[in-house]
Amino acid sequence: MAKGIWVFAEQREGQIKKVVFELLSEGRKVADQLGEELCAVLLGKDVAGLVDSLGEYGVDKVYITESDGLENYTTDGYTNVVTDLIKEHQPSVFLLGCTITGRDLAAQVAQRLETGLMTDCTGMEVVDGQLVFTRPIYAGKAFVKASCPEARPVMATIRPNTFTAEAKPKTPETVKVTPDIGNIRQVIKDIVRQVSERPELTEADIIVSGGRGMKGPENFKILEELADVLGAAVGASRAAVDAGWAPHSMQVGQTGKTVSPVLYIACGISGAIQHLAGMSSAKCIVAINKDEEANIFKVADYGIVGDLFEVVPILTEELKKLTAQ
């Protein structure tokens, strides 16, 4: 019988993604409830040093596969190695973060194993011995609860910031696996990384976002200054992206990224339904907008009706003072 709760320990450039710790923490609870082992699967080049950080979050066992060919993520290379491991050990559950890589890998692995996959989940619970997942549909305008009753492993990708990472230190057993990477058809010709000190939009605890009211790309600087004080990511509405003021990678909403930060500060954003769909699961929403009728005020916890060009710089200064205390 299939046994074991597995988590994909996604890493990039020698850093485990934050969502992995969130999955291990929640996975630990599920593993205890079901009486199964919690395992992590770690792929890459020279990544053995990352095992300790996984142990911090209560993992029982780590499967490590190291190879030059796994230094960068490729769909085929990672799918081949992960699928072989799952076929050999038959876990009951395989969880991944809903990141670009997690989503890419999950679909290939699920099909090769002919199992079900629930993506971008924001909830996970055990009901009568079955894992039931909650996932937003229509970009958060509705939710569906779903399960994978028969096929194994049950697979799901979980949205970052859904669970809280809770330290539960343990010394995990490590299992070194010699990989058969197989044939990789995707040849990576070039990787361009945008150098940014800011957190990624989907993983950020705080997001400062700008819309049409920003009036131009040059004005995003004032949002960046606020973001830097808060250690926040910078986002944009579709209006701002379509106007060419911000790249699409910054877009929050139904045709952009869906985010669940602790704090979302919307500046000059009217609050179109597509935008609200992408951010309304934020714990605290702040709206700064000149138009008191703007939709965004209907979902905001705190609102200021006023000129963002006056309000935001003062807010930045105030928060700088407060956070320095």
Binding site: T99, I100, I137, R185, Q186, H248
Partner: protein, 257 residues
């Protein structure tokens, strides 16, 4: 060059979602559109054909009869023919849909398969990848640039915090991310022409599948709507005063900074 585009009909992004008396998503009275990410795929297919100077663009969808509207839109944009598989009133998941698409495609000639990287309704972003896996061809997801030459595709794709350039041999599946192109609007002439273009309608049996072969792996248990958020407080006063008060509230009341 034979280009296939898999597309889906979705609710309009403006659609308000409500539940019907059975607690499922109400589909009556909702305006339907071609999934916006699939529009990028159709546009890219047309540009590929135009750049190559020859070729054929076939658009394929799995859905009910109303899905013809989305397929006709693709034909009006310039696609050559359409295939609609109507599986009837059966529950489908991404495994089911991918199985149907792959089965139809396996009976066709193709050099490249395009699609949106996800649909805006269930947002699962896995059907195209599953199709590639079944057909045993490579997949590149979330592309923002595509060049095709000498039996290879070179695509730029979004990755976390940047982008990468990936080369794959054809045939391959490539999925579109926003930014790939700006989809054209169908011209009046295009709309007229589309009415005469071939639209092949198939049932599961026509495809050569039985219901048992597409049984979903994932079962939906229940649907719900989010709790409406309550409007909070508007902080009064001059900008400087309001900003100071907001900073204090975020620190002391909401405790989020």
């Amino acid at each position: 060059m034979k280009i296939l585009v898999c597309l889906k009909q979705t609710f309009d992004t403006e659609a308000k979602i409500v539940l019907d008396e059975n607690g499922k998503i109400e589909r009556q009275g909702v305006s339907l559109i071609m999934n916006p990410y699939d529009e990028f795929a159709v546009e890219e297919a047309l540009r590929l054909k135009e750049n190559q100077g020859e070729g054929e663009v076939t658009v394929i969808s799995v859905g009910g009869q109303q899905t013809q509207d989305a397929l006709r839109q693709a034909l009006a944009m310039g696609a050559d023919k359409a295939v609609l598989v109507d599986p009837g009133d059966v529950e489908l998941d991404e495994y089911s849909t991918a199985t149907i698409l792959a089965k139809v495609i396996s009976g066709m000639e193709y050099d490249i398969i395009l699609g949106g990287f996800r649909a805006i309704d269930d947002g699962s972003a896995q059907v195209a990848g599953r199709v590639a896996e079944i057909l045993n061809i490579p997949v590149v997801n979330m592309i923002t640039k595509l060049e095709v030459a000498d039996g290879k595709a070179v695509a730029t794709r979004e990755i976390e915090g940047g982008s990468e350039v990936v080369e794959v041999p054809l045939p391959a599946v490539l999925t579109a991310q926003k930014g790939l192109n700006e989809p054209r609007y169908p011209s009046m002439k295009g709309i007229m022409k589309a009415k005469k273009k071939p639209m092949q309608k198939m049932t599961l049996a026509d495809v050569g599948l039985e219901e048992g072969q597409i049984a979903p792996k994932v079962k939906a248990i229940s649907f719900s709507l989010p709790e409406p958020r309550k409007a909070g407080k508007i902080i009064p006063g001059e900008p400087a005063e309001a900003a100071r008060e907001l900073a204090r509230l975020l620190r002391e009341e909401a405790k989020v900074v």
